[in-house]
C-alpha cells in the first residue's frame, strides 16, 4: 500500500516489538511492557494482536484471522483486510494452510503445528486485575509468585457455588512459574494451550504488554487437587456437522425458545461437512 511500510509499522517499531517478543518467549507467561503505538483501528479491536502480527509477518506468510472462532465475523474480516492492504500477504480461512493465525476469543479446533504461530488479541493481560486493580501491586505479586489472591477467589467460588465459576479467561500457570491470562478464550480451550507445538504470542495494545508461551510449554489451569479443572461445553452435537467435541455457538432461532447449536470454529465445521460430502459421493 502506497505511503506505508510493509505491514504498516515502520521497521524500528517492528524491531522494538520483536525484542519484546523475544524477551516474552524467554520468560514464558511474563508480561513484557512495550511501547505500543496507536493503530488505525481502535483500542479494544485487537491493536495488540495486530502489532504482534505486523512485527512477525513476512512476505511469504499466509494469514488467517478469526474472531469468536469464525473467519467471517466483522472484526476478523476487517483485520484480514487491513493486512491484505498494508502487507499484501496471502490470506486464508483454512487453519491448516495458515502460517500465522490471529485470534480473538478462540483457539482453532484443528491442532496446530510447529510451523504455525498463534497470535492472541488480549484486552486485559493482567490475570489478577479483577482482584487487584493496581498494576504496581500485581507486578510485585508476580515477582514473588504470590498468587494466593487467585486461589482464595477459586476457593470462594467453590464454597459458594460448588465449583469454580470462571467460564472464560480462566487463569493458567505457565511453566510452573507465572500466572497468565489466556485472553478471553472459553475455559474449554484452555487445555489446548498445554504443550502446544505452535508458538503462542499474546498482544495487549491498550495495556501495552506482550507475553508468550513457547512451543511445548506446560500450561495448567489453576485448580485444587480435590477440585480439578473441568471443561464446560454445551451438551449438544453441532447441528451442521454433528461434531460432539467442538465448542458450540448457541443460536436463537425464534422467540419461542428454539435454539440450534453449531460449531464456533467455522473452518473446522466446513471441513467436516466437506469430508462428509466426500464420503457420501
Amino acid at each position: 500500500m502506497n505511503g506505508y511500510n510493509f505491514a504498516y509499522l515502520d521497521e524500528p517499531t517492528k524491531r522494538m516489538i520483536r525484542r519484546a517478543i523475544l524477551k516474552a518467549v524467554a520468560i514464558p507467561g511474563h508480561q513484557v511492557p512495550f511501547g505500543a503505538r496507536e493503530m488505525p483501528l481502535p483500542y479494544g479491536w485487537g491493536t495488540g494482536g495486530i502489532q504482534v502480527t505486523a512485527a512477525i509477518l513476512g512476505a511469504d506468510d499466509v494469514l488467517k484471522v478469526i474472531d469468536q472462532g469464525a473467519d467471517d465475523t466483522t472484526n476478523a474480516v476487517s483485520i484480514r483486510r487491513f493486512f491484505s492492504h498494508v502487507a499484501g500477504v496471502e490470506t486464508t480461512t483454512r487453519t491448516r494452510d495458515a502460517t500465522v493465525i490471529q485470534t480473538r476469543h478462540r483457539i482453532p479446533e484443528t491442532p496446530l503445528t510447529g510451523d504455525q504461530i498463534l497470535v492472541y488479541q488480549v484486552p486485559l493481560p493482567e490475570p489478577l486485575a479483577k482482584l487487584e486493580p493496581s498494576r504496581a501491586e500485581t507486578k510485585q505479586m508476580h515477582a514473588l509468585a504470590d498468587y494466593g489472591l487467585m486461589h482464595v477467589k477459586l476457593y470462594e467460588d467453590i464454597a459458594r457455588f460448588g465449583h469454580v465459576t470462571i467460564s472464560y479467561d480462566y487463569p493458567v500457570m505457565v511453566n510452573g512459574r507465572y500466572l497468565m491470562s489466556p485472553s478471553p478464550i472459553p475455559a474449554f480451550d484452555t487445555l489446548k494451550m498445554n504443550r502446544m507445538p505452535a508458538l503462542q504470542l499474546f498482544g495487549a495494545g491498550r495495556e501495552k504488554r506482550i507475553y508468550a508461551v513457547p512451543p511445548y510449554t506446560t500450561v495448567r489451569p489453576l485448580d485444587f487437587d480435590d477440585h480439578p479443572f473441568s471443561l464446560t461445553r454445551a451438551p449438544h452435537a453441532c447441528a451442521l456437522c454433528g461434531a460432539t467435541n467442538s465448542y458450540l455457538d448457541e443460536v436463537v432461532t425464534d422467540d419461542r425458545g428454539s435454539r440450534m447449536f453449531v460449531c464456533s470454529d467455522t473452518d473446522y465445521c466446513a471441513d467436516r461437512r466437506g469430508e462428509m460430502e466426500g464420503d457420501a459421493s
Binding site: T47, A159, A234, Y247
Partner: protein
Amino acid sequence: MAYVAVKGGERAIDAAHDWLARTRRGETAVPEIKTDQIAEQLGRAVDRVMAEGSCYDRDLAALAIKQAQGDLIEAAFLLRAYRTTLPRFASSRPVETSAMLIHRRISAIYKDLPGGQVLGPTYDYTHRLLDFALAADADSAMVPAAVPSSTEADQSPPAVTPRVLDMLQAEGLMGAEPQSDAVPGDITREPMSFPAGRDIRLQALARGDEGFLLALGYSTQRGYGNSHPFVGELRMGDVSIEIEPPELGFAIDIGRITLTECEMVNQFGGSKTEPPQFTRGYGLCFGHGERKAMGMALVDRAMRAEELGEDADAPAQDIEFVLYHSDNIEATGFVEHLKLPHYVDFQSELETIRQIRRRAETKPDTGAGEPQ
C-alpha cells in the same frame, strides 16, 4: 435460515461504510463544509482535537473533525493514528512561556501586576443568550473590527511577560520546582510504569480527556482531595518553537503555536524545620483550552499529595488511577469494544449459570457444595 444472517460480514462492512459516507455528507443541497471553515470558525473544536490528538496541526485537525462528523474524540483518534506514522527528526527546546505573545492573561490573585491583565477573546462575561443573528446569513460586516490594543499602540510589546508564580517564588513564598536537563520521558514511545515521574504525569494529562480532567479537578474542589487552589495565572497566546540541529550548534525558530498555560497557587506545606510555602499545580495544553489547562493544574497538584506529605486517598490523588484512565482514545476503545461479538464468552457463561442452577434445583436443601 436465521443463522445465515449472522454471516456475510464483508458485504455488511462495505454497505456500512457507504451509508456512513452518505450520512457524513448530509443533505447534498446544503453546501459541503470546507476544512478551512472548520479551522477558522470552529477553532475551539480544532484546539481540543489537537490537544487530545497530541499533534499540533490545525488543518489536519479540521480535516479529522470533518471526517468524524464533529465527533471530537473520533477526530482526536484519527489525528493520533496519523501522528504515530510521522518520523521524528528533532526535539524542540523547552518552550519559554514568559516570552509568549499574549492574547489573554489573567491573574486571580493580584489586582494588577507587571504585564497587566489582558481579558482577550473570552466567553467569561458573555451573557449566554442564543444569538439568532448568527443563524441568519450574517456576513462579515457584522463582525466588529479589531481595535489596536494598548501595547500595539505603544509599538512596544513587552518581550517578556513575567509569570506570576515566578514573582512569588522570588519572594520565597512559592516552592521551587526541581530543575533538570534530563531528557523527559515519552509515553508515546515507552509504556508507563509506576511510580510515574511528574514529566510523565504532565504529558499524560496534557493529552488527557478534557471532560475527565474537568470532573476530577471539580472533585478536588468539592472535598475529594482539596488543595485550596487560586488561579495564580492563566495565559493564552503564541510561543515560538525552537530546535537546535546538532550540525548547526544554535537554535532555529521553526514556527509558532498557540498554548494555554495555567498555574494554580495552592495551600502551603511546611513543618517545624521548613517554613511554609505555597505549592504549584501546572496545566498546559495546545490551543485555547482554559477548562483543560485549569482541570489539569488541579489534578497535577492533587497527584503531588504524597510527595508533599499529604494524605492521598481521593481519586484525583491516585496517580495510577488518574493516568490509566485519562486517555480518551484508550477509554473509548475499551468501552466501545463491548459492541464487538462476545458470544463465545457469553456461551460459556450461559453453560456455567445453567449448571449452577441445575445443581441448586436438584439439591434445594444443601445448596452449594462445601469444599472438602
